[in-house]
């Protein structure tokens, strides 16, 4: 069958009508002439007029055909032979435009002996061997997604060199993203045959199998015309090249977790390191070493059962406030993926956390709305503890610069003016923490209108009616795994049994609870007492009862102090800009004003310098790097070396699983898309190697035909011109007289 490959030039066919239009316009301008020698004109049809008629129309036909040939040639018609060929063998149609989509994610470095990326490169090279001169190649790698892609090239040798230069990176795999980029790249190819060649390591991670919507959209784009021949622009052939995946044993440091969100100096903290053995082989023995700020602080042998998770706890005391980095490294394991054998965590050690207490009712000591809170945070009242408190009232809030504090606690505050609410919202959006305690002075109407504003304000939820249960209710269930509630996780007994809640506000958390609003503590009747909601970069925690003794006995139970300290530390633990990142993120360093004028140095994990450009982060002057390609620890310091910040870049944990992509996964993702799946180089050559091309483009033939017709037209025209010239020469006065 014949297909037009460049339909955008379809309008050019109108050019065929040009000679006809000119012919008829010419005919329309008829001049009447009174004529005597009619007998010669009348005699003409009998002998010559017919010839003239034929000549005229033949010329018209030839001229139209010339234009038609050129116009059709611009449409690039191609003849496609029937695809009925050898079974299993792919017959390409016309010249091929190959879009190589190479997954160079972190998992491709897996493999003991020969890595997956090496096998993938060999498959890619074999595929390139099946192409021939005139075919074009594009190369898109996972690590380059989001960046500008290069134009397709016809130089297959250069394409081979590009493939050879591919190395594994630390980025996360994203197969749908690769295919989407490949579909976009198709438009830049000029050859009629299109092949999307997905070259990956055969691992399931990065396929996003459960994202049905995205795969449905991709399938629709690939199969935009299900009736079109496979391998054409409207229905590209999808070729999947992946080395035969094998179950691999892989041990990974899956997580580093501290026992608290806010790390004080000179206080021992527990560092939990989680190790995972993804595999089905024998238990693995390895050495786990812990590094702090690049110095090895402890090491211990570990044995991890196949398919199990192991947790090792280290204790360490940071003696100096500021930025630090913890790194856990596995050594000596029979491991197939080295990239996940180490994991780092950047932490900020805090000397003191500035907290602003805003009380509805003022007082000293335990008096006032936040008297018990103040006593819990700063028992000595001397400001030498972790929390540096500043107590104030609503009336004096206008004079307070919120940027001097990291946490703000509102206790039984009746109302806030609009400017204060705006400042508070800005404070939260920029990473600040707010703890709100309600009470008798709280005006729910005002709070809902100004603080909650539906779900747009800083208050986590809309306040309902104040509830005074007939009998006191007890807190029943605390959230597990939350930094703010971490003090209660290992408690064997119910620490809340002594607390009685006499009154509280019910919350309207319809549609929010469980998603945006998290309940940290609830009553026996199920109503939440403490809820949290993230707002912008900050967090807000709402206590639906009083933080003093007016509505509850909470201040009198032993759990109150760790609760308030835990929540406050959690709220104040946000470190911005983020220092724990993923490959592809950018380092954002906000120096002080003084530092911003100094030289800022940044080094990658190998100690190579990285350029930080001047920029802004949330209106603050900042130094920002290019997207980071490698995982590891990055160091930023000023010229004096006094200020130093660590940034930890870790690959995603799910890349460590090395799950084999199953046929079921393929069925769920690519579904009915015709797929040529090849795992061996020989197979690639056998299936895709072309001994001959059954199809060809017809435009060269058409152009040759046009040239031939042009030659004929020239001959006819010149013959006619010569005849006219001869005739007119013979009719000059002298010769006319002689005749």
């Amino acid at each position: 069958m014949i297909e037009l490959l460049n339909l955008s030039m379809l309008g050019g066919l109108a050019a065929i009508s040009a000679p006809v239009i000119i012919h008829f316009m010419h005919r329309r301008r008829i001049k009447p002439v009174t004529w005597a020698a009619m007998q010669f004109l009348r005699a003409m049809p009998a002998k010559s007029r017919r010839r003239l008629f034929l000549d005229e129309w033949l010329l018209l036909l030839i001229r139209s055909l010339i234009l038609a040939c050129i116009a059709i040639a611009l449409l690039r018609p191609a003849y496609f032979a029937s695809s009925a060929g050898n079974a299993g063998r792919v017959e390409r149609q016309g010249r091929t435009g190959a879009v190589l989509l190479v997954d160079d994610s972190v998992s491709t470095s897996s493999g003991r002996g020969r890595s997956a990326i090496e096998s993938m490169k060999q498959l890619a090279t074999s595929y390139l061997d099946t192409l021939s001169t005139g075919d074009e190649v594009s190369l898109i790698r996972t690590s380059q997604l989001g960046k500008a892609t290069a134009d397709p090239i016809f130089d297959l040798e250069a394409a081979r060199r590009s493939v050879e230069a591919i190395e594994s990176t630390e980025v996360e795999s994203d197969v749908p993203g690769l295919l989407s980029a490949g579909l976009d790249q198709m438009a830049r190819h000029v050859n009629p045959g299109i092949e999307l060649v997905l070259i990956h390591d055969g691992r399931k991670e990065g396929w996003k199998v459960d994202d049905e919507q995205q795969w449905k959209s991709l399938r629709a784009e690939i199969e935009s015309d299900p009736e079109a021949p496979i391998g054409t622009r409207r229905r590209p052939r999808v070729v999947m090249l992946s080395p035969e995946p094998r179950p691999e044993a892989n041990i990974a440091v899956s997580r580093i977790r501290l026992d608290r969100a806010l790390i004080p100096e000179d206080l021992p903290i527990e560092i939990d390191v989680s190790l995972v053995h993804y595999g089905e082989s024998d238990p693995e023995e390895a050495l786990l070493r812990l590094f702090v700020d690049g110095r090895s602080v402890e090491e211990r042998p570990v044995t991890i059962e196949a398919g199990e998770t192991s947790r090792e706890t280290f204790t360490y005391t940071f003696e100096e406030a500021g930025s630090h980095v913890i790194e856990a490294v596995i050594e000596g394991a029979r491991d197939s993926l080295a990239a996940d054998d180490r994991r780092a965590l950047s932490v900020e050690v805090t000397k003191s956390l500035p907290v602003l207490l805003v009380e509805g009712a003022t007082g000293k000591g335990f008096e006032g709305s936040l008297g018990y809170v103040a006593a819990s945070l700063d028992p000595g009242g001397d400001g030498r503890g972790l929390f540096r408190l500043d107590r104030t009232t609503i009336g004096r809030l206008d004079d307070v610069d919120f940027r001097d504090f990291r946490v703000m606690i509102l206790g039984d505050v009746p109302a806030l003016d609009a400017s204060t609410v705006a400042k508070l919202e800005r404070f939260v959006m920029m990473g600040g923490g707010v703890l709100v305690g309600l009470g008798p002075a709280t005006q729910p109407l005002l709070a809902n209108r100004d603080w909650a504003r539906g779900s747009e304000g800083f208050l986590p939820a809309t306040l309902g009616r104040r509830r005074v249960p007939p009998g006191s209710l007890l807190p029943a269930e605390a959230r597990v795994g939350h930094y703010g509630m971490q003090a209660f996780e290992d408690q064997a007994t119910n620490v809340w049994s002594e607390a009685k809640i006499d009154a509280y506000y019910r919350l309207d958390t319809t549609g929010l609870l469980g998603s945006e609003v998290v309940s940290l503590l609830s009553l026996t009747n199920g109503d939440p007492v403490i809820v949290e909601r993230a707002r912008g970069r900050g967090r807000v925690i709402l206590v639906t009862t009083t933080l003093d003794a007016k509505w509850s006995d909470l201040p009198f139970v032993s759990a109150f102090v760790p609760l308030i300290r835990g929540l406050t530390a959690y709220l104040g633990s946000v470190v911005l800009p983020p220092r724990n990142m993923r490959p592809g993120d950018r380092i954002t360093y906000c120096p002080s004003d003084l530092e911003s004028r100094e030289v800022v140095l940044c080094e990658d994990p190998k100690g190579n310098p990285i350029v930080l450009e001047q920029g802004y982060w949330e209106d603050y002057p900042a130094r920002i790097s290019e997207p980071l390609a490698s995982a590891g620890i990055y160091r930023v310091r000023d010229a004096s070396g006094k200020n130093r910040v660590y940034y930890a870049v870790n690959p995603r944990r799910n890349e460590s699983r090395l799950t084999v992509l199953s046929n079921e996964d393929l069925r769920k993702t690519l579904a009915n898309v015709p797929l040529v799946s090849l795992q061996q180089s020989d197979e690639v050559i056998d299936v895709l190697g072309q001994t001959k091309r059954p199809s060809r483009e017809l435009w060269p033939l058409l152009l040759m035909l046009a040239v031939g017709l042009l030659f004929v037209e020239s001959l006819m025209t010149s013959r006619q011109s010569r005849r006219e010239l001869r005739a007119s020469a013979s009719q000059t006065p002298e010769s006319g007289g002689a005749a």
């Binding site: 329309r28 001049k31 002439v33 004529w35 009619m38 003409m44 005229e56 001869r726 007119s728």
Partner: protein
């Protein structure tokens, strides 16, 4: 300006300017060419004229030669009287003009000039105006009044009707009882075979014939480009044609027609003279008459 005046002014005066040679040529042609068939019956002496090669030596006046040492021949009334009939085609096609003179006007002037020349030579000149049939027929006479009448008819002749010269010539052949000269002035846009047949008929009736075919310059050059609607002058159906395309074919057809006509005339002994309306009439006369002189003497 009347035909008479214009012929006198434009043709005869110019012929005068051409010089004695032309006059002599004309006179010698006319005198030496047409000998009387009634020799000896009417011998009224009319005068002398210079001897021209071809003259019968019996008519040489030896007395004059003896007195003046000049070769003069005696001229008799009957001997020099040529009976010529000028046939002028007045069909519709003769009205064609590409901007200058119409073919009919050119024919009138040619006829008038010839008439003047012949009457001045004491020859009898008659005239036939025709299209599909004879419209006017003046019998030949050497009187000047006959010439004036001929000029009047020529001047009042209106073009019209279709060309059927062959029929006219056949009719004329039947009316001609004596030897004479027939001068046909036409565009000859007729069937060549029939025309030649009619000429043959006339020749059979002992008539000397000269055929002037008059064409307009455009009829030869055919300078029409693009699509043209040709409107016939003799009620032919209109024809739409591309002038550029048919020019060469038309010119070939015209040349072929003229070649056939020339050959036909040659075969039957008719002098064929093609001319164009932009040709100088005097020069045409000189060329034609010179040609006639040579041809006549050879004959």
């Amino acid at each position: 300006m009347s035909l008479q005046a214009s012929v006198q002014e434009e043709i005869l005066e110019r012929l005068g300017n051409v010089g004695v040679t032309a006059r002599q040529a004309v006179e010698s042609i006319l005198s030496g060419r047409h000998r009387s068939v009634h020799r000896g019956l009417s011998v009224e002496f009319a005068g002398h004229r210079p001897y021209q090669p071809g003259d019968d030596l019996r008519h040489l006046d030896w007395k004059v030669f003896a007195r003046t040492d000049r070769y003069d021949v005696r001229v008799y009334e009957e001997e020099t009287r040529l009976r010529a009939t000028i046939v002028v085609d007045c069909s519709g096609s003769m009205e064609y003009s590409s901007g200058g003179m119409t073919k009919l006007r050119y024919a009138r002037m040619l006829a008038a000039a010839l008439g003047f020349l012949m009457v001045r030579q004491k020859d009898a000149v008659g005239m036939v105006l025709c299209d599909t049939e004879i419209r006017e027929h003046l019998l030949p006479s050497s009187r000047m009044s006959n010439l004036w009448a001929m000029l009047d008819h020529l001047e009042s002749a209106k073009p019209g009707g279709e060309t059927s010269l062959a029929d006219v010539l056949d009719t004329l052949a039947d009316r001609c009882a004596r030897h004479g000269l027939i001068i046909i002035i036409t565009d000859a846009f007729d069937e060549v075979d029939r025309l030649v047949q009619s000429l043959k008929h006339l020749r059979f009736r002992k008539q000397e014939i000269r055929l002037y075919q008059i064409c307009d310059p455009h009829e030869e050059t055919f300078p029409f480009g693009g699509m043209v609607e040709f409107v016939g002058m003799e009620n032919e159906p209109r024809l739409r044609m591309d002038g550029d395309r048919i020019r060469s074919v038309y010119q070939e057809a015209l040349a072929e027609h003229r070649r056939q006509l020339a050959e036909g005339c040659h075969d039957v002994g008719v002098q064929f003279e093609p001319c164009r309306t932009d040709d100088d009439l005097a020069m045409v006369l000189i060329r034609t008459l010179s040609h006639l002189a040579v041809g006549g003497q050879r004959r």
